[in-house]
């Protein structure tokens, strides 16, 4: 376990063993190369950077949920000694931006409010000053006159006749609709033996990444911008910052230092990115913004609250005949990534089971709540809370075991979702069988005790999105591989590690391809000016599959050149397969015909008049439907005991079986699953952004209540092995789809234990006690 930490030995490739097949790095529990810097405090995050002359930025935010800005006067703030710059919406171009470049009318935000504020926390002005105290003092001196407007805080309220319009362009507060239709739904419901309809609501939760957002910008004398920012998508930030500042994309350089988690919350250009850059250019001094935790919780992006109505038709034997889902998303004041969420909820509503006829009607509704955004699972936790709760209720009423009902309808390899996707690898049935065994399901279901219950829920998830809402003109993932005559290699990619460990995985993939060790690979990443165009960043569990495929593409081209050198040197028959392993390039059928990799590189350079040996690799999913090139699956059982006096549900144990294709690094996969269970346990039981007319009431981590070490139940996980043909070495998603089943599995267990059937997350003691008829 210590290889990655010891300094690389002097290169002596010939000394490495070559007898027998070289040990594969795939499936190894390799520790992360960045871990040493992180345990010693040496890793540099954005807020850790200080530049000479740096100014501190702060944002002025709207104190009201919906208002016209009648007047802004920043003159007193500008006059405060130590204040170097103040900007309002009047001082900067009113350019609309957003990640949905493909459909410009969906880009509904400006970096600072111009005429109107739409939520408590909407960014109104920004200050840059010599220190934090002065910046804070200046905010208090900015005079803003608001003319308050009636506001709306729920989807039904926003859709009601006569409701105030959050955006004038959408008088009905309906931002967009997404529909999905296939099969004959009327026929399905007419032929059904059993139909049920349920409505569920899910709540807003915070990503609660540990590192608050931070951005530091510097302007060069020629006006070019360098921005260090805590982002999971440096390319989007580069493009959108250029657009909002009216610069060319190449005039903006975005650097992603170490990032302290994102979970979907750091994948857009945010106002402080822009304000840091704009004010750096105005003042000629670097400007840094770092958000407070209160700003993060009270105004930051959050998981969309959704109201979902699901109607499902079964035959008596449990076969699903059709399903109709409507979803109303509370988008808050702006679209953000909402259009994608609206589409994905529809897809996740019918991705797990064979649903021959499906109708989805999703609408995205503007309200005066803080805007929602992408968050781990992105639509799937809401869709699957509804879908899996309903499956369990249907099983109960049909008199079929919930696992049996799922086995009857489970997706299988090769199944098609009409017009949407074809399932490649799929170990769903195996997951169900295994979790039944692992959790002792049958015995427990046969002997139920009051206050105790097992619950089950499942998931399927994507491995990267096929959709190009950003309308990029570059490949979705790119990688450049260079090899050197000292037997080492360099990987350059904009793929964004935000803590999940993808840097290690990509190095592992390259090292495997080239037959090198992890410590032979130097990684250059996180800089739009240094990395090949482009990589769409971290979201939708795309990095391992897409960037991994780009790395393999580049590596294979390099290997081809190296193989030519071996072929030439040993005058090999053209039928020889030539491979890389143990630091050598060799003939597979005659392994003694080998050259150290560095020597092969030197030969290739000589043959090419000194030109370095390098290759660019790319991956863009094509002809794989509308959603994703690959799908993961899993099943989870929760063992819950409910205190019937206090109503407190206590999770005794979680059982998880998942299919993520090949586990490239089991330690990394486990880390993803374990972290997902923490976040999802919070989603189920304790976490909720409590809102009162647009105001967040619990904007501290103490009151927000994400689970601590003592709250975590024991947990058992197992893997079902499949091989995903679209993924590098057979790999696909891990740890994002698992954000989905935990809440419905716990809710199902609570239902078994108490009879309380949760239709409204989170599951709280008060709700359980009310069901039990207790006085609260």
């Amino acid at each position: 376990m210590s290889e990655a930490r010891t300094p690389p030995a002097a290169p002596d490739p010939a000394a490495r063993p070559v007898s027998g097949p070289p040990e594969s790095l795939i499936g190894q529990r390799l520790p992360r190369p960045d871990a040493r810097a992180k345990v010693t405090g040496a890793a540099i995050y954005t807020d850790d950077i200080q530049l000479p002359g740096m100014l501190y930025g702060a944002m002025l935010r709207s104190p009201v949920a919906h208002a016209l800005i009648k007047r802004i006067d920043a003159s007193k703030a500008r006059a405060l000694p130590g204040v170097k710059c103040v900007i309002t919406g009047q001082d900067v171009p009113a350019i609309r931006y957003g990640n949905w470049r493909l459909v410009p009318e969906l880009q509904d935000e400006t970096v600072l409010a111009t005429d109107k504020v739409r939520f408590i926390g909407d960014e109104v002005a920004a200050v840059a000053a010599v220190d934090k105290d002065t910046a804070e003092a200046a905010l208090a001196l900015i005079e803003v006159e608001y003319q308050e407007l009636p506001a709306v805080f729920g989807v039904d309220e926003a859709l009601a006749d006569g409701a105030p319009a959050v955006h004038d362009e959408h008088p009905d507060n309906l931002s967009l609709r997404r529909d999905i239709d296939y099969g004959d739904l009327e026929q399905a419901f007419a032929a059904a033996d059993y139909v049920r309809e349920d409505t569920f609501t899910t709540h807003a939760v915070s990503h609660a990444y540990m590192e608050p957002c931070s951005a530091l910008a510097r302007a060069d004398s020629d006006g070019r911008i360098t921005l260090w920012t805590s982002t999971q998508t440096p390319y989007y930030v580069q493009c959108l910052l250029a657009r909002t500042m009216e610069l060319r994309e190449n005039d903006v350089r975005v650097i992603k230092p170490a990032v302290g988690g994102g979970f979907g919350g750091k994948m857009e250009l945010r106002p402080w990115d822009f304000c840091a850059a704009w004010m750096a250019r105005e003042t000629g001094r670097p400007v840094k913004f770092t958000l407070s935790r209160e700003e993060e919780l009270a105004t930051g992006r959050r998981r969309h609250p959704v109201k979902i109505t699901s109607k499902i038709a079964f035959r008596q034997d449990g076969t699903i005949l059709g399903k109709e889902v409507t979803a109303k998303l509370d988008g808050g004041g702006y679209n953000g990534m909402g259009p994608t969420a609206t589409f994905l909820i529809g897809n996740f509503g019918a991705m797990l089971y064979k649903v021959p006829a499906y109708r989805y009607r999703g609408i995205y509704v503007y309200t005066n709540n803080p805007p929602a955004g992408a968050m781990r699972g992105f639509g799937a936790p809401q869709a699957l809370f509804a879908g899996e709760m309903q499956m369990n209720k249907a099983a109960e009423e049909l008199g079929i075991d919930p696992i049996e009902l799922r086995l009857k309808n489970a997706m299988e390899p090769g199944d098609a979702i009409p017009g949407v996707a074809t399932i490649g690898s799929c170990g769903f049935r195996e997951c169900l069988e295994k979790v039944r065994e692992l959790s002792g399901w049958d015995a427990r279901m046969a002997a139920k005790l009051p206050g105790e219950g097992l619950g089950i829920a499942c998931y399927s998830f994507i491995s990267g999105g096929v959709f190009n809402w950003f309308n990029t003109r570059y490949p979705f993932s790119s990688a450049e591989v260079k090899v050197f005559d000292d037997g080492t290699a360099q990987l350059t990619t904009l793929a964004a590690d935000i803590g999940q460990g993808s840097d290690l995985i990509l190095c592992q993939i390259l090292a495997e391809e080239l037959g090198l060790k992890i410590e032979d690979i130097r990684l250059v990443t996180g800089d739009t000016a240094a990395c090949p165009q482009s990589d769409l960043g971290t979201w939708g569990s795309r990095v391992t599959l897409m960037a991994g495929n780009a790395v393999r593409d580049a590596a294979r081209q390099v290997k081809e050149r190296l193989a030519e050198m071996v072929s030439l040197k040993f005058d090999l028959n053209v039928i020889h397969e030539i491979a890389c392993g143990g630091g050598h390039v060799y003939s597979k059928s005659k392994p003694s015909r080998r050259i150290p990799l560095g020597e092969a590189v030197a030969m290739a350079q000589r043959a090419n008049r000194g030109r370095p040996l390098k290759a660019s690799g790319y991956y863009t999913p094509r002809d794989v439907g509308l959603v994703s090139p690959a799908f993961s699956f899993g099943a989870q059982v929760a063992d819950v005991r409910v205190d019937l006096e206090t109503g407190l549900p206590e999770v005794q144990r979680m059982f998880t079986v998942h299919d993520c294709g090949t586990e490239l690094n089991p330690m990394a996969v486990e880390g993803q699953l374990e972290g997902s269970i923490q976040m999802s346990l919070g989603y189920a039981l304790s976490e909720e952004l409590l809102m009162d007319r647009g105001r967040t009431l619990n904007a501290t981590l103490l009151d927000y209540k994400l689970p601590v070490a003592e709250d975590m139940p024991p947990s058992v996980s197992e893997t079902v092995e499949t091989y995903e043909p679209e993924g590098p070495f057979g790999a696909k998603e891990a740890g994002e789809g698992l954000a989905c089943p935990t809440a419905p599995a716990i809710a199902h267990a609570v239902h078994q234990a108490t009879g309380y059937f949760c239709r409204e997350l989170p599951i709280t003691p008060v709700k359980i006690l009310r069901h039990l008829g207790r006085e609260i």
Partner: protein, 170 residues
């Protein structure tokens, strides 16, 4: 507010720094002394990312004013390892057990874990989970962090290291 000059021992070095009276210790460490290993995750004492030792005892440095550290000894994560090449056993264990993901909680986790092990070298799982309940993590579910700390129990070396660091002698 007029600045005050304070003198404190940080990781064994005497440092003199002028601070505003309202400056917190974490701000002084990060912004004035450029010891950015200590992280601020909340500023309200809820997340534990800013955990340092003040005279050997773990504190949230976001709830401690810099002036309170005047004349006292502070150990940060940068001072926990006995040397530039040798790590504290807890740091080694965090690496080997995959207890590090985004790393933002890690300095605080490492400091709280080392403090626990120096107080309680034979800590069991419930006491590890209890000791870390003031340190929030959003990536790992705490599983591998707890495993890493438990792996240090009983190897004998941790108590001594922890105590040395806790006393500011590291």
């Amino acid at each position: 507010m007029e600045p005050r000059t304070i003198t404190l021992t940080v990781n064994g070095d005497r440092r003199c720094v002028a601070v505003r009276p309202n400056l917190t210790l974490v701000e002084a460490l990060r912004d004035e002394l450029h010891l950015t290993g200590t992280k601020q995750g909340c500023g309200t004492g809820d997340c534990g990312a800013c955990t340092v030792y003040l005279d050997g005892r773990p504190v949230n440095s976001c709830l401690t004013l810099a002036v309170e550290a005047d004349g006292r000894s502070v150990t940060t994560v940068e001072g926990l390892a006995p040397s530039g090449t040798e790590l504290h056993p807890v740091q080694e264990a965090f690496i080997a057990h995959g207890a590090v993901q985004c790393g933002y909680c890690t300095p605080g986790m490492v400091m709280s874990s080392a403090a626990l092990l120096s107080r309680e070298p034979a800590a069991d799982e419930p006491s590890v989970r209890h000791a870390l309940a003031g340190n929030l993590c959003r990536c790992t579910g705490y599983t591998k962090i707890v495993e890493a700390v438990l792996a240090c129990v009983g190897d004998g070396s941790c108590g001594a290291h922890g105590a040395a660091a806790a006393e500011g002698k590291a």
